[in-house]
């Protein structure tokens, strides 16, 4: 690992549904579990609110990884939202890999309000993975790079 790699601080956006994953993140916080500061959370009412447009926008503006967290399937606050998320994201992730985005830059995880530990663990793992992948160069807008 070169010095540059060690200094690499990825930009990571985490879309979290208000009812489960955002609460899970709160629990991770109140339980004082550590995860990297690179992760910035955006609150959405439901994982199904996350438009593929947002995900691409995040990469455009310089993010290195995007993670989308919602309630476990079957436990959606809105009954069915995360079922749609699951289908949409399965297709989107596959398509993005297909056009050559590195595996694992976009990820979906189900984290319940009670899973503070899982939230922290997931974030630790994800940041590690993105660090290993390095900077996102395959899907970036150079105009945002100054």
């Amino acid at each position: 690992m070169s010095i540059d790699d060690r200094d690499f601080r990825p930009v990571i956006a985490a879309f979290c549904c208000n009812w489960c994953s955002y609460a899970g993140a709160d629990l991770a916080g109140s339980s004082r579990m550590k995860y990297p500061a690179e992760v910035k959370i955006i609150r959405v009412p439901c994982s199904c609110r996350v438009n593929p447009m947002f995900i691409l926008r995040t990469f455009e503006k310089g993010a290195d990884g995007v993670i989308l967290c919602g309630c476990h399937p079957g436990d959606c606050h809105y009954s069915t939202g995360n079922y749609y998320t699951r289908r949409r994201m399965a297709s989107l992730i596959s398509l993005m890999e297909f056009v050559g985005l590195e595996r694992g830059r976009v990820r979906v995880e189900w984290v319940s309000a009670a899973e503070g530990a899982k939230f922290a663990e997931t974030m630790n793992e994800f940041v590690e993975h993105i660090r290993a992948l390095g900077k996102n160069t395959r899907l970036e807008d150079l105009r945002c790079k100054n």
């Binding site: 691409l56 399937p73 994201m89 992730i93 398509l95 890999e97 297909f98 050559g100 807008d141």
Partner: protein, 320 residues
């Protein structure tokens, strides 16, 4: 062809329909254009030949708003788009009269150019072979060599919807339609990236793919409006093209009938259908086979779910 013209004239004359949507002959034999005909006299310019590849169903959105019925000539594959548009309430089936026309695969002059045939003056369809008169002498080639990509993965000779059918069709399938997708999946991620980088960087954002696409029928595209602060007109950076094509593919996912018009019209020859086919291949594998436009009632896989769907995990897009 004469039978089509006579039938159209009769339906116009007895008032069943107010206008006819078909193809009009132009100054070159290989350039028929989609056209509306409103009188028997105009119909004398009607043509139907091997160059009538254009999918006419999208024009019916516009004519659904007009008085009276529109007669449309649809090839078997066009009927899928027609159904899809009916399903999305963009076409009023009651205001259409569909005559299914026979099809044995359509060809383009583009493909002839790619075969190295230049200065084309006339093309004669002799069944299995084409005779091409050019400024530089007479050339010939097998009919199927000049066929559109989509005809090599024909959806079959059945019209999915029609008030009547005139003419015989043939199933022209001679390849696995997912072959290229599979080939790409087997490349490394880096190779795939290079492939799409090379293809998509040719994009000039002329929007031909979008505007010809039967299911890209938004009144205002998100890339023309401010709903997402995503208005784009430029091909300013490579990102913009990628974003445009990824989002476009996603927006038509589950709705795309794989009509192949996007690839047919791209002035830069970008194989855009590959993105759609990847999504179709995935959805078939994840949720069971589904063909958009097969009927007007089945819901698209992306607006449906089951409790035990596969998880959105990495590794489905292709090799690492």
């Amino acid at each position: 062809m004469q039978e089509l013209i006579e039938r159209a004239k009769a339906l116009l004359a007895d008032g069943t329909v107010s206008r006819v949507l078909g193809w009009r002959a132009t100054d070159t034999p290989f350039g028929p254009e989609p056209a509306f005909f409103e009188s028997g006299e105009e119909l004398n310019e009607f043509v139907y030949n091997c160059f009538c590849g254009a999918n006419l169903s999208k024009y019916l959105i516009e004519s659904s708003a007009l008085e009276g019925k529109t007669l449309a000539f649809l090839k078997p594959c066009d009927t899928y788009s027609f159904n899809q548009l009916c399903k999305e309430h963009r076409i009023d089936r009651g205001k259409t009269y569909i005559i299914g026309v026979g099809c044995k695969g359509k060809i383009t002059v583009e493909r002839l150019h790619e075969l190295g045939i230049k200065g084309i003056l006339d093309v004669e369809d002799a069944g299995d072979t084409l005779t091409v008169k050019t400024l530089y002498g007479e050339k010939s080639c097998p009919y199927s060599d000049a066929m559109l990509e989509r005809c090599h993965a024909c959806k079959g000779k059945e019209h999915r919807v029609a008030d009547e059918v005139i003419g015989e069709s043939a199933d022209t399938t001679d390849t696995d339609r997912f072959a290229k997708v599979t080939e790409l999946e087997q490349m490394t991620s880096k190779e795939r990236y290079a492939f799409f980088q090379a293809e998509l960087s040719k994009c000039i954002r002329c929007n031909a793919c979008r505007n010809v696409c039967p299911v890209c029928n938004c009144r205002k595209c998100v890339f023309d409006g401010n709903a997402f602060d995503s208005v784009q007109k430029a091909n300013a950076t490579e990102f913009e093209e990628k974003m445009f094509h990824i989002i476009r593919a996603f927006h038509v996912a589950g709705r795309c009938t794989d009509c192949g018009e996007c690839s047919r019209v791209c002035p830069q020859g970008i194989p855009l259908h590959l993105l759609n086919r990847k999504l179709i291949k995935d959805m078939d594998a994840f949720y069971g086979e589904y063909q958009a436009g097969e009927d007007t009632s089945t819901v698209s896989p992306l607006t449906a779910y089951t409790e035990h769907d596969i998880e959105p995990e990495a590794g489905k897009g292709g090799n690492e």
